[in-house]
């Protein structure tokens, strides 16, 4: 019990004194997660949209594959990306291993299927009259597609937020690919893992509280947009 109360006390001290180490870890986490989410959005939203509005053979298989990718363990992602970017891997010469870029690559692999699958379901569930309405009002094929996407916007926002939520909370591949280097590639989750194993509960709890706050805000936003999409 003493451990927990002391830990909490230390945690609040660290947060409210804006401890430079805590700040640095949070900053790296946010930067890495935002970049990865942005890139995963660029890939996932158009992909989900195209799969969602078109009917083709094998659509079910693609959907099942996406759902499987959503559930892939992050250590497996870490392992696969590691194999590619380690010194002996095909992308070895780029020197990406144990850098924030490596975490970003892992996070893109993790986030893209989530954003794709959520976009797909947002577009798939959309009113089919939108297409007819836009067409009869004289929209070109491209304008029709843009209108459908605009009408599905709340669902797409929810997809992006779900992706961000997954990526910022990820720990397995971030340790394997980022190397947990202090002030460089140490993220909130990898710092919690390390500090806890060192017995630095206060530091771990402080970061835990920040991560929980982020997760909570993300969930509120997610539910807000999902509700708007109806």
């Amino acid at each position: 019990m003493f451990l927990i109360t002391e830990g909490l006390k230390r945690a609040f001290e660290l947060i409210f004194s804006l401890d430079p180490e805590v700040l640095s870890v949070v900053l790296v986490s946010v930067k890495v997660s935002l970049t990865a989410t942005l890139l995963a959005t660029v890939a996932g939203v158009p992909l989900g949209f195209v799969i969602g509005i078109n009917e083709f053979r094998g659509k079910k298989v693609v959907t099942i594959l996406l759902n499987t990718l959503m559930a892939i363990p992050t250590v497996v992602i870490g392992l696969t990306v590691y194999a590619f970017i380690s010194r002996q891997g095909p992308l070895g010469p780029l020197g990406l291993l144990f850098s924030p870029s490596a975490i970003i690559i892992g996070d893109i692999v993790l986030g893209t299927p989530i954003i794709t699958a959520f976009t797909l379901s947002a577009v798939h569930g959309i009113d089919e009259r939108i297409h007819t309405t836009a067409t009869t009002l004289g929209a070109t094929k491209f304008q029709v597609a843009r209108t459908v996407l605009a009408e599905a916007r709340f669902g797409v926002f929810a997809a992006v937020i779900a992706g961000f939520g997954r990526v910022i909370a990820e720990v397995g591949s971030a340790i394997m690919l980022g190397g947990n280097i202090k002030g460089y590639s140490r993220t909130i989750t990898t710092a919690i893992a390390l500090e806890t194993s060192k017995g630095e509960f206060g530091f771990g709890i402080a970061l835990g509280i920040i991560l929980l706050t982020v997760a909570f805000s993300i969930n509120i936003l997610f539910h807000y947009f999902q509700g708007k999409q109806g």
Binding site: T133, T135, T136, L137, G138, E151
Partner: protein, 335 residues
């Protein structure tokens, strides 16, 4: 252009095994209001979708201004000359103003012109006061008027309205009917409106087309009966319930017949003439359509009869009064 605007040629449409249309030939002319009447499920929406090139016929084709609508080299150019307002319209999840401006935005019209035209159209449909309202907060009638405005703003040559008054209250029905008449008068727009209500069709349209037996014809959509045709002593008789109607046809067996309400003579006393069909009945309903009066008479079957306002007053026709109906065997159309 003097030729017809639309020509439907050997047009067939099926959904799976179910054939909806088999129209050998039909034409529609510019600047008129057409009403297409038919029961629910007759294919009223489908025919509008086919005319708007939103749906392809199973076989045959539609010519628009002499050009094949489905194999045009520039389908967008043809499609942009017309627009369809759905029975249950979808409004984009934004404001009234942005909904109405949509068709102009996709045509890349200058913002100033867009603003002027949207304002003008909102005025026409009486919705200027709610231009900034989000569509989720509209009543059914308002939503329908937004949808009509959204179609009108692009100043289409052809406006296709699918049951525009089916889901709205009485006040909005009147408003929408007035809007339709105003557009046609002021803009010379060709309007094709579908309705299941024959009275509304005659009130709005220059020409009423009926969907009967998969075909589109100019038959009055009234007095349509389904029954059996039998032959007795060289005369063909249509039987339905206990009614027997003499007609001229080669057909025997199950058939649909229709009698134009303008071909039926109504009189308070038995009418002495050579017409084969004469029935006694009671007036059930009297209503005014433009300058004519529609009288519904229960004579075993309900017959609609059209008379002028003058003769209605002269004969002192009233609900409940006994009258005699007379029409020729040759006035009965068989399908």
């Amino acid at each position: 252009m003097n030729g017809p605007l639309f020509v439907l040629q050997r047009l067939k449409k099926s959904f799976g095994d179910r054939e909806i249309f088999d129209v050998p030939y039909a034409e529609l002319f510019k600047g008129k209001i057409y009403a297409i009447v038919g029961p629910n499920g007759a294919g009223k929406t489908t025919i509008l979708r086919i005319l708007n090139a939103l749906e392809r016929p199973t076989s045959g084709t539609v010519f628009y201004k002499g050009e094949d609508l489905y194999s045009s080299s520039d389908p967008l150019r043809l499609q942009r000359q017309m627009t369809m307002v759905m029975q249950n319209p979808y409004l984009f999840n934004t404001t009234v103003y942005k909904n109405v401006a949509y068709g102009l935005k996709v045509r890349n019209l200058a913002p100033k012109d867009t603003r002027n035209r949207v304002e003008e159209t909102l005025e026409l449909v009486g919705l200027s006061h709610i231009r900034e309202r989000r569509v989720a907060n509209l009543s059914g009638g308002e939503a329908q008027r937004v949808a009509i405005a959204r179609g009108l703003v692009i100043d289409p040559e052809v406006l296709l309205l699918d049951e525009p008054t089916a889901n709205v209250d009485q006040v909005n029905i009147r408003l929408i009917e007035e809007i339709v008449l105003t557009i046609q008068e002021e803009r010379d727009t060709t309007i094709i409106v579908t309705t299941h209500n024959p009275t509304q069709a005659y009130l709005l349209a220059d020409k009423v087309l009926s969907i009967i037996n998969k075909n589109i014809t100019e038959t009055y959509y009234e007095n349509i009966f389904q029954g059996e045709i039998e032959e007795a002593n060289g005369t063909k008789i249509f039987k339905k319930n206990s009614m027997e109607i003499c007609l001229v046809s080669d057909k025997v067996g199950r058939a649909i017949i229709s009698i134009d309400p303008r071909d039926i003579v109504i009189s308070p006393k038995p009418f002495d003439c050579r017409a084969r069909n004469s029935f006694r009945g009671t007036i059930k309903e009297i209503s005014t359509i433009k300058d004519q009066v529609k009288v519904v008479v229960d004579a075993g079957l309900d017959f609609a009869v059209m008379v002028t306002k003058g003769s209605c007053t002269e004969m002192a026709l009233m609900i409940g009064s006994e009258v005699f109906l007379t029409f020729k065997a040759s006035s009965v159309h068989v399908y």
